[in-house]
Amino acid sequence: MTSLTFESISVKYGESTAVSSFTDTVRPGEWLCLIGPNGAGKSSLLRTVAGLVKHEGRILVDGTPLDLRSARRRAALIAHVPQSPSLPDDMTTFDYVLLGRNPYVGYFGQESKHDRSMVHQVLDRLCLEEFANRRLGSLSGGERQRIVIARALAQEAPIMLLDEPTSALDIGHQQQALELVDTLRREHGFTVVSAMHDLTLAGLYSDRLALLHHGHCVASGAADEVLRAETLSEFYGVSVSVHHEPDGTVVVIPRRTAPLA
């Protein structure tokens, strides 16, 4: 299992600051969920770890700075599931998941037998074998989300970054996708960092929440410490009530402020 450390990470786009000296350590096997309003810097932070954004500060994987690694080595450590992945309509599911093996194939090389059987295992594990030869364009939203997760799984990276993995899904598929990530994390010992909008789901599945606001981390801790009505009202500008279920689940419910007619 692998730890991920942020050492005062700052991200700037021109004049505007997206992330401002974020420092945190995600323990091996932990699931950290980044929450916060739109534009708080959640995606920027994930993209920084994936090596897609210029940044100040250091990111360490098991104590080794990431920027010392080659692109392929980094990809073998970190799998990134973007917010809106691009799925070419005429690519088959198998070919798409096979892309996850890129970190293990040389520049001019081709995938080995092992890579291909690895992809079959992943498809089998996620019950996607029947879609192997189907074109991505013919699949439903829930199936597509599972296929993107399958590609990340084929990457065999110990750290998984999920950017809004459930934003395009209905409640059933949201639960299915998150259950899948949770199960896989327990099976393989992944360290997971996700960004999510649904606060109840974020609290339910993650071990720890970090609340970002204008690029600053303003609160961090277990769900019941971060998900407080006054905290959320301050940083999201919402009126919510927070309920605590007997099993410890924290439920965030928006309150209607206009008087009922």
């Binding site: 993209r47 994936a50 090596g51 897609l52 080659s70 692109a71 392929r72 080595r73 980094r74 990809a75 073998a76 970190i78 799998a79 990134h80 973007p82 992945p85 691009s86 799925l87 070419p88 005429d90 690519m91 070919d95 798409y96 892309l99 996850g100 890129n102 970190p103 194939v105 520049y107 001019f108 090389g109 081709q110 995938e111 990457q155």
Partner: protein
Amino acid sequence: MPAACVALAVAFLFGAMIGPAGPAWWRVPAELLDHLPFIRIDSGATELQSTVLWEIRMPRVVLAGIVGAMLSLAGASFQGVFRNPLVDPYLLGVAAGAGLGATLVFVVGRSTSQSWPVDPLPLAAFIGGLVAVLLTYTVGAGFGASRNPTTLVLAGVAVTSLTTAVQTFMLQKNTDVVRQVYSWILGRLSSATWGDVRLVLPYVLVSGAVLLAHRRLLDVLRVGEDEAQSLGARVDRIRLTVVIAATLGTSAVVSVSGLIGFVGIVVPHLVRLLAGASYRRLLPLSILAGAAFLIVADIPGRVLSDPAETPIGVVTAFLGAPFFILVLRSRQSEAR
């Protein structure tokens, strides 16, 4: 794949059989077989007819095949590396840049070049093409082409216009070479010799090998720059290598065949429709189909206005332009 090989063989045979002068068409297969090792067949062709076949028609068919293969391979590679099914060597300014490079050589004096150890024309065309495509890329990247592929095409249009303007200006100053440049632009497959084949072959082999070696990485690029990067692909390096290789090959063939349009866009599109969009299949199939396409497209030129020749660029544009409009139309209805 077998179907494409058969198509290429058939195209090759037809290309060898049809044309003014030379042996009667039904004697050609026997004459060809006769040249294979260990086979002796009397084709019944006279020595003159045999010479026509081997020294005039065959180099032309072989060169058309090489040119067609290279143009469609380069077209498919450009489409992959820029993630844009509508780009080809023309839209990116490669052809116009190569044309400008060639014009420069003509203006400076082709006549003096006869004494040069190597023909400067392919080199000048390559440099011109490379400068043009790098200019397109730099201008496009400066305006965010990595996020929006259309920007790149627009940059290519601007570079092409500029290059063509410079070329026109130079021609106005040197009207004596207009005829030479014009016939160069329209192509001279009709007067192809084995020397032309030897001239382009090294460039085409190098370029083709590099491009084919990138077919897996072009598939990785299909998910977009960011995702390819997060999968460990060095997108900038791949892009630069593929662009240089494709430009090298294109400029080399353009320098013997002239500017032949639409091959680089029509052939890969046809292959995509028939065999899917994976670059692992698309690149090798484009080579075969492109060769077959251009060999066939070269046939009407020989017979249409016999004994004069219709330039092959005219034939490909005649076939290609309506096809291109059909492709645009089908893409539009797909998007709807």
